[in-house]
Homo-oligomer: 150 residues x 4
Amino acid sequence: MPMMDEAALTAFLARDFAQVADQFAVEAVGEMTARIRLKVAEQHLRPGGTVSGPAMFALADVAVYLAILAQVGPRALAVTTSCAIDFMRRPASGVDLIGACRILKLGRILAVGDCLIFQDGLEAPVARASLTYSLPPESASSPSSSPANG
Amino acid sequence: MPMMDEAALTAFLARDFAQVADQFAVEAVGEMTARIRLKVAEQHLRPGGTVSGPAMFALADVAVYLAILAQVGPRALAVTTSCAIDFMRRPASGVDLIGACRILKLGRILAVGDCLIFQDGLEAPVARASLTYSLPPESASSPSSSPANG
Amino acid sequence: MPMMDEAALTAFLARDFAQVADQFAVEAVGEMTARIRLKVAEQHLRPGGTVSGPAMFALADVAVYLAILAQVGPRALAVTTSCAIDFMRRPASGVDLIGACRILKLGRILAVGDCLIFQDGLEAPVARASLTYSLPPESASSPSSSPANG
Amino acid sequence: MPMMDEAALTAFLARDFAQVADQFAVEAVGEMTARIRLKVAEQHLRPGGTVSGPAMFALADVAVYLAILAQVGPRALAVTTSCAIDFMRRPASGVDLIGACRILKLGRILAVGDCLIFQDGLEAPVARASLTYSLPPESASSPSSSPANG
């Protein structure tokens, strides 16, 4: 079972990532999985009305980061070391995006996860991403670690 | 020789990507290369003061997109189809980032480029990215095409 | 429903990719999915006895390629344009690997799929990969197209 | 200056990667760079005569691995953790491939490099790849570590 539930992750997000916390909502947390909502607003759109690439990247990164955090608890987490993302369909304007992710590896120094990004209510994913994170030694507890997009 | 120079790219950016144009500056354009500056501001930072992952992703995407545009001229360009990015060093707070990119393939339907991201004045790159773009048929001329991060 | 089943894919593999066909077995084909076995042999091992990176890359590429083929039928297919692969665990020696893949996008000119690679009988994946393919125009029918690893 | 030169790398390859050593030649080693040749033979080709994807993956991996080794000396090296590769042009049959790579980060626990793959004598790259490696603690000295494709 995850060490943090939806409420705990939401509280963590609000406290440690105040700058971006209001853009995201923790929808569900499970065993090595998480489901995070990007509350699409003006700032995420590009001309034409679709959600920008950086906004989708940010959603994938936050989603996998929170999924890892849910498993290991609110200790210091390392930084995002890499991301491979495929943009597959153009998201419609004004619809929230959902990042559905799973942790594939939770090692001592590296974690790997992937994320499918959906438009709320539609079945075909608009993007997919895989991300890797460098984890600090267990003893570390600095509160300054963060996802790439915190 | 590129079909668009620094001034032409800057004008294009201001007209077609007004939302983000003031974040970037076109520093140099060459044969299959471009050098773009991210004018780092509050909105690009995460807690702790380093530049966020999405901001670096956006810089890489804009830089390669503009480099392609410089070669083919201001016709409609297709969308970003994928990006692989490695975050290698933590950028210092409050320093502009420079995206130095090169086009490796400019095909009929696909373009590929890569980008090294530096802190202004330092030699070791903070990130590297490679990106692919799907190009529209030559006859297309819709002004609505855009980079993932437009 | 897929246009080709396990037997049809196996026959295609034997005819069009005779050089590598005996290394792989088509285990299952479904709606936008496929499950392919790498029959691990001496040639796939590196010193120490684990399966080599190129062998895992080849499995992922063949698996997604065959999954696409199963959906569209035995017409000419385009080439692999990119692959992002994460190596997560060291596979044990002498155990077959299974590539379980799904097609995430099957567009007019691009297809995207991903693949989890497992050791036969174990639950934790040893690698994950995402791949993109450039598809030829529907009218094309040259038999010379192929996966990167055909 | 690198800690190992062309002769030292060649000797290392022959001793520790006897299985694949005869496929590669160390052409040049420099400060954070290396240039490795894939001696293209029957086993690297796919139907139609072009070099297979796994063979290009193997070249990129060996090239960056040897470039790292040249910098740190013949101590135990960790495994390949990820690779993102773009296939950009179809290589002609029967021509050797050259992997020209550079190390972008050589950290305490992670190294990052990239590689352009050329056909011998031609200027346009046929592929590009970026790779990451997990490095063992300095004290480790097991001779069993290896590149993904050793």
